[in-house]
Each structure stands twice: as structure tokens, then as C-alpha cells.
């Protein structure tokens, strides 16, 4: 395998698509601004030049239309990658994803496979307000028939996207606008990360922090802070919500006996609620404290920066929850620059 290089998240995603499209002519990329504009977030930059208009296809603003076109094409054997400029816009195509893509295989008694990837950025970015800041993974993960994938690093971005493109099921692949410029080492060539395998980002004995997508970085930051206070937090990156690596989650809780789920998105009927149900049902005897969740506040996203910061999960909210769980006194508030205990 070639040496890893440092790539940005968007470059890693692009590399996955380019490599897969080079390998398989039945794969194409379709979406708003993916071609001539080079991608609203430049993920597909240069791909039109490389593959031509036949395989890198600009669409009108018609999510229902082009999501449906992708499904029809996948039904008869093509392998579309459908880009949503953001996952917020997927809601106008929810009929295609939920009523059509997720149901076809079952209601046809397995006569069809649907190898299609829907991808684009999800979650809050910066001050984009209520309609452009939604973390919708819980909505799609609710639906049997869809797989839901949320990478947190450039390497996983590449490896999981390659796995998603090769999968024969409809995939909801949620990236993050604020992570596109994030850099990291990415293996060249054949680097495929299987769906349904969590990644232990940091071992620890005192508490498990469970996260995915950009909340992994929030959890890691919290773990750093806690380490300075003598609390060893384990950080588990789920990477895919469907399929869910239940074993990795339960094994981690069995080691640490405590668990905090760090979830972007609303609390009510969210992913954290599902994970906590699983933990309580399967690992009750291993628990030293009730599992906790840190989520968005239960409001639409306000525009003002200070309000947005209050709504989103933060490392500080995570550390506070962990200290409370461990019966540690809350530290006096210090200026953020005073260092996180290192």
C-alpha cells in the first residue's frame, strides 16, 4: 500500500470517488454544482475535467428529481453517487429516500439491489441559522433499509466512502461542512473501511465517550481536558450508525462502566436515546452510573453566534457531565486560554 499523505477531508472524499470511478464505469456523480462549478464545497473539484459531462452531471435545483433519477438508475444496475449540497435539502427528496430507496428491496422480495450513495454535508456550520444547521442522521437512521455513515477523519472519509460506493444498499453518507478543510494522513490507493466497525480513538478506564462525525473531535477535546484532571476517558467513534457496532460499544462500557454519548442533533428520539437503550438493556450490570447524553438543546438553530454556541454540544458540557458522573466537584470556571489542565 502506498505511503499515507496528508490530505484535507474534501481531498480524501474526492480521492475515494475518483479512484472508484476509475475502477468502475457504472459509477457517476450527480448533483447541484458538482461539475462546472467544481462543487459547492469543492469536494468534486476537477472531476468534471477528469470524467466529462457524462459521468459528472450538473442538475437543476430539483432534489426529488435527481434523487429519483439516481434510484431508477441504480435499480437497473448503475451505481450513482448523488450529492446533496447539504443534507437539509434532502428533506424535499425524503419521499425518494424513505418511501422509495429504503423500501424497494423489501417490497420486491429481494428482486432488486439499490447500490446508491447519497452524500453531502450535514450538521451545523457557522451561523447558518435554523434551516441550514440540522443534523439529520437520527431521522434517516430510523429507517430500515438505509445505511447511515458519518466519518470523522480524512482517512475514514476516504475509506468509508469507498466502502459505501461498493455497497449494494442505499447509503446516507453525511459529511461536515466545518471538517472539509480538516487535514489528516490518508492511505493512498486501496483503503476501504468496512461499514459497521467502530474505531477506538483513545483508550481509557473511567468513562466511555461515544461520538461520530465532528462530535468525535469534541469528545477528544473533552478527553484531553479530563486527562489533566486524572480522569481517563475512552473515546469511541461509531463511524456508522446503521449498521451499528454494538459489540464495540458494549465492550467499551464493560471496561469503563460509565458512558456519555456526545451527539449533535436534538435529544428527543435521537441516536443517543437508542444507544442508551441498548446499553441499559445489554450492559446494565456493568454500569456504575446512569448513561448520560450531551446533545443540541431542543430548539431550532438560532443565528446569533453566542446562541448557536449554547445550542451545540461542547467539550465543556461533556467534561461537566463526566465530572458529575464521577462525583468530582465542578472546577471553578477559568478563562479558556488558561490551558485545559495540561
Amino acid at each position: 500500500m502506498p505511503e499515507p499523505r496528508v490530505l484535507s477531508f474534501r481531498e480524501a472524499l474526492r480521492e475515494a470517488m475518483v479512484e472508484e470511478m476509475e475502477r468502475d464505469p457504472s459509477i457517476f456523480l450527480m448533483g447541484e454544482e458538482v461539475g462546472h462549478y467544481n462543487g459547492a464545497y469543492k469536494v468534486s473539484e476537477g472531476m468534471l475535467e477528469r470524467f466529462g459531462e457524462k459521468r459528472v452531471i450538473d442538475t437543476p435545483i430539483a432534489e426529488t428529481g435527481f434523487a429519483g433519477v439516481g434510484i431508477g438508475a441504480a435499480m437497473v444496475g448503475l451505481r450513482p453517487i448523488i450529492e446533496f449540497m447539504t443534507w437539509n435539502f434532502s428533506l424535499v427528496a425524503a419521499d425518494q429516500l424513505i418511501n422509495n430507496a429504503a423500501k424497494l428491496r423489501h417490497m420486491s422480495n429481494g428482486q432488486f439491489r439499490l447500490p446508491i450513495v447519497f452524500r453531502g454535508p450535514g450538521g451545523a456550520a457557522h451561523a447558518l441559522a435554523a434551516q441550514h444547521s440540522q443534523a439529520l442522521e437520527a431521522l434517516y437512521a430510523h429507517v430500515p433499509g438505509l445505511k447511515v455513515v458519518l466519518p470523522s477523519t480524512p482517512a475514514d472519509g476516504k475509506g468509508l466512502l469507498k466502502a459505501a460506493i461498493r455497497d449494494d444498499n442505499p447509503i446516507v453518507f453525511i459529511e461536515s461542512e466545518v471538517m472539509y478543510a480538516l487535514k489528516g494522513e490518508v492511505p493512498g490507493g486501496e483503503h476501504v473501511v468496512p461499514l459497521g466497525v467502530a474505531d477506538l480513538k483513545r483508550p481509557g478506564r473511567d468513562v466511555t465517550l461515544v461520538a461520530w462525525s465532528k462530535m468525535v473531535h469534541t469528545a477528544l477535546k473533552a478527553a484531553d481536558t479530563l486527562a489533566g484532571e486524572g480522569i481517563e476517558a475512552e473515546v469511541l467513534d461509531l463511524r456508522t450508525l446503521r449498521p451499528l457496532d454494538e459489540r464495540a460499544l458494549l465492550d467499551s462500557v464493560a471496561r469503563t462502566h460509565r458512558c456519555v454519548i456526545v451527539q449533535e442533533g436534538w435529544p428527543f428520539a435521537g441516536i443517543a436515546a437508542e444507544l442508551i437503550t441498548l446499553i441499559v438493556r445489554e450492559a446494565f450490570d456493568n454500569l456504575d452510573a446512569p448513561p448520560e447524553r450531551i446533545t443540541n438543546l431542543d430548539v431550532p438553530m438560532p443565528y446569533a453566534k453566542n446562541l448557536e454556541n449554547v445550542v451545540l454540544p461542547s467539550a465543556e458540557r461533556v467534561t461537566t457531565a463526566v465530572r458529575k458522573m464521577l462525583g468530582r466537584p465542578e472546577l471553578p470556571r477559568r478563562p479558556a486560554v488558561a490551558g485545559a489542565g495540561r
Binding site: M75, V76, S108
Partner: protein, 317 residues
């Protein structure tokens, strides 16, 4: 006039009619559940259109698709067993009346959210064009679809990308219980095709030969030039929206007027007028269709139910 063709079409329409009569009876006996949307009165649309297609052309239809399935596959057993919710049904008892699929015969459903399958049909046609294959996709939908966003987006993309798809609007005058004149601001659905743009034709959907000819022309053009085409077939359903609907929003006079256009009767009269077959010979064909349906009912009655142990299968590939 090709007598074999005409008699074949008659036999197919009779099969559709007898099949749905038997399905309605089974429903009233509690043997068929769920929603059951009958196509009785509209059969010439599907039979005429599908008879004009090659067996390799794709069919994408709605929840009122028994006739489309039968016209494409001839498989009354598989369809009836599906309505009965049996494992031998064409969708293994997982689909029901609204979701009849047969991948091998390129019968691609059976979609039951109004409008949603229109972009899917465009996508199937997109795949044909992408692979330089010459297959054409036939997309059926009702007049009630004409106000849905998905309908417009599907047509917009088919027009923009010049996809080989024939859109066939089965205008049976009612979107469920609401007449077209109360829901559509134009008299003909076909005018909506103009802006995308695509050629359109308004056809007497109760004349199976007129349907066959118009769709045949549209298919040949789509295959040759890779362009979409829009056909509006004027027709009427003789039964309610589903079997749960007594259809009280329509007058007896109106129903009577349309029943004079009953596609079976129209075709029978033509066949006799041309001296191709006698009334007795047509009766014999009808009896054949009835026997095939009776066989399908007996098959469905005998067929095993799906094994509950398999309920979680076919969620993921």
C-alpha cells in the same frame, strides 16, 4: 387488420377484467387485504401501451397496476398469490396489490406514493442512455399526479437530458374522489408536457388500437432519437378509487355514458365488424381468461404463507 393481434389484445383485456373481478370477490371474502385499486374500465390503456413495447422495454407503474403486470408477464398466478399475501406471490407476499414487481420481465413496480415513481422512471431511462442501450421506459401514472412536484421534476429532467421515456397519463377523470376540473387548472394534462419540452398526444384510452399506435409511435421515436414523449389517455374507472370507495361522487348518468366506451365492448364490436371472430368465439376467449383466473385463484388459495422466520430478510442486500 392483423386478426391474431386483435384477438390477442382481446384475450389480454379479458384477463385483466376477469382477474380484477375475482380479486374484488376475494377481497369481499376477506381473502385479500389492504388497499385494492381496480383498473376496471381502463384496461385498454395498459394493454395497448405495453403491447407496443418490446419485452426488453421497462415498465414503471403505480399502485393501480394489476393490468400492467398482467400485460407484461401474463402471470396471473403470481399476481393473485401476491394479493393473497402468499409466499408464491410475485413479491413474495411482501408487496401486495400495490407493489407488483418482476425484475426478469422488467416490470419495475408497483409504486404507491403518487408521483414519486416519475423521477425513478426517468432514472431507468437515464441508465439506458448512459449505457448506450436502446431500451425505452414506459411510465404510467394517473391524472392526480399532474400537480405533484415529483411529476414536474421527473418531466423536467427527462426533457433536459433527452431521456428515452414515454410518460403515459391515465386520465380517468378523478383524483380519488375529486374530479379533475376541481383540481387541474387546465383541461388537458398533456399541455403540461409542453414546457419541459416534450411532444404530447391525447389519445382515446378506451380504444386499445389507438393506444397501441400512439405509444408505438412514441416508443419508436424515443428509441431512435432519445427523446421523451407524453401521452394522455382519456379513460374512466368503472369502480371506486379502491374497493372501499362506493364512488358516490359520480352520477349514474356519467358512469353510464363512459361504460358505453367499455374497452372490451369497443374491441369486441370492432372484431365482429371486421369479421375476425364471432360473438361465440369471443366468448370462448373470455372463458379461457376466466379459466386462467380461476386457476390463479386456486393457486393462490393453496400457496403457502410467507414464513415468519424470514420476516427480516430483504431489508439489506
Amino acid at each position: 387488420m392483423d386478426s391474431t393481434l386483435l384477438l390477442g389484445l382481446y384475450r389480454q383485456i379479458a384477463l385483466c377484467r376477469r382477474f380484477e373481478e375475482a380479486a374484488a370477490k376475494a377481497y369481499s371474502q376477506g381473502k385479500v387485504s389492504g388497499f385494492l385499486h381496480l383498473y376496471i374500465g381502463q384496461e385498454a390503456v395498459a394493454v395497448g401501451a405495453i403491447s407496443a413495447a418490446e419485452p426488453t422495454d421497462y415498465i414503471v407503474a403505480t399502485y393501480r397496476e394489476h393490468a400492467h403486470y398482467l400485460a407484461r408477464t401474463g402471470d396471473a398466478r403470481g399476481a393473485m398469490a401476491e394479493l393473497y399475501g402468499k409466499a408464491s406471490g410475485c413479491s413474495g407476499g411482501r408487496g401486495g396489490s400495490m407493489h407488483l414487481f418482476d425484475a426478469a420481465h422488467r416490470m419495475l413496480g408497483g409504486w404507491a406514493i403518487v408521483g414519486g415513481h416519475v423521477p425513478i422512471a426517468a432514472g431507468v431511462a437515464f441508465a439506458s442512455k448512459y449505457r448506450d442501450e436502446k431500451d425505452v421506459t414506459l411510465c404510467f401514472f394517473g391524472d392526480g399526479t399532474a400537480n405533484m412536484g415529483a411529476f414536474h421534476e421527473g418531466l423536467a429532467l427527462a426533457g433536459l437530458w433527452k431521456l428515452p421515456v414515454v410518460f403515459i397519463c391515465e386520465n380517468n377523470q378523478y383524483a380519488m374522489g375529486t374530479p379533475l376540473y376541481r383540481t387541474l387548472a387546465v383541461e388537458d394534462v398533456a399541455v403540461r408536457a409542453r414546457g419541459y419540452p416534450m411532444k404530447s398526444e391525447i389519445v382515446n384510452g378506451d380504444d386499445v388500437l389507438e393506444m397501441r399506435e400512439a405509444v408505438g409511435h412514441a416508443i419508436r421515436r424515443a428509441r431512435r432519437e432519445s427523446k421523451p414523449f407524453f401521452i394522455e389517455a382519456k379513460t374512466y374507472r368503472f369502480r371506486g378509487h379502491s374497493v372501499a370507495d362506493p364512488g358516490k361522487y359520480r352520477s349514474k348518468e356519467e358512469l353510464q355514458k363512459w361504460m358505453e366506451r367499455d374497452p372490451i365492448r369497443v374491441l369486441a364490436e370492432r372484431i365482429q365488424r371486421l369479421g375476425i371472430a364471432t360473438e361465440e368465439q369471443l366468448h370462448a376467449l373470455d372463458d379461457e381468461a376466466k379459466a386462467q383466473v380461476q386457476d390463479a385463484v386456486e393457486f393462490a388459495e393453496r400457496a403457502p404463507e410467507p414464513d415468519p422466520a424470514t420476516v427480516e430478510e430483504y431489508v439489506y442486500a
